[in-house]
């Protein structure tokens, strides 16, 4: 990097207010925590149903509900506003994953349904699914080899 460039970057990092870090961290904390509390509220709601669903079904239903809410909020343009305020608070929860699928789907729709909407849907979610499924297969094989440790 050239010397003036380096000096400029030093100047920028010196002038940039330190409190910005704290502000963004605080925002991420409370919005992320709130999204999780909404998730807990749905979990409690589904567990209290008379059908007495097993724990895994309740957790799957909660996930689907959060995805549905996020998709609608993304569709009407609200989730992007939440994201601008919350930073990681809107990325780390499962709602951020849903947003990362819905948002490019809407954005690229005018390039066509197949090549625009469908193929761009996975620009962020693709890596997540690839890493997720690959690592789960690796875990499965590790468990297969060291079965005794996991029983």
């Amino acid at each position: 990097m050239s010397e003036p460039n380096k000096r400029y970057l030093e100047l920028v990092s010196k002038k940039m207010p330190k409190s910005r870090h704290l502000t963004t961290m605080f925002r991420a904390f409370w919005t992320g925590g709130t999204i999780c509390m909404i998730g807990q509220a749905f979990t409690d709601l589904y567990s209290s149903l008379p059908a007495a669903l097993p724990e895994e079904d309740v957790s799957a239903l909660t996930t689907i509900t959060l995805i549905l809410i996020t998709a609608v909020l993304t569709g009407i343009g609200v989730y992007d506003k939440i994201g601008a305020y919350a930073g990681a608070g809107s990325i780390v929860p499962i709602t951020g994953f849903a947003n990362s699928v819905v948002s490019p789907a809407i954005e690229h729709k005018r390039e066509g349904v197949v090549l625009g909407l469908c193929s761009n849907m996975f620009s962020v979610a693709g890596p997540v699914i690839v890493f997720g499924i690959s690592s789960s297969v690796v875990v499965g094989i590790i468990v297969l080899i060291f079965k005794g440790a996991f029983v």
Partner: protein, 120 residues
Amino acid sequence: MDILVYLRVFAIGGAFCLIGQILINTTKMTSARILVCFLLSGVLLETIGVYKYIRDFGKAGATVPIIGFGANLAKGAIEGTLENGLLGAVSGGIEAVAPGIAAVIFIAFVVGLLATSKTK
């Protein structure tokens, strides 16, 4: 409705997002990388048997963030392998998260068809 449970959910869920924000602030990671990092940490923590304690304590605070999604994948893979051997090792992970992934794809497809992008 137990206030203390909700406080724990808030604290654990918030803490994961706080870690994510620190990663964004200090490393300029894109959201795809953040998601992958959390996912892999979840897989690792579940495999070594730590995540179930976090889940017992944090409830939805531990299952709603993407790290819980990773933990769920690993949990499914471990259970699948113990039940069905090699076939379970391959399919266990995706079976556990299949409802979530199917819902994301279907809902995103429908919303994508219905919604129009206002900006741009």
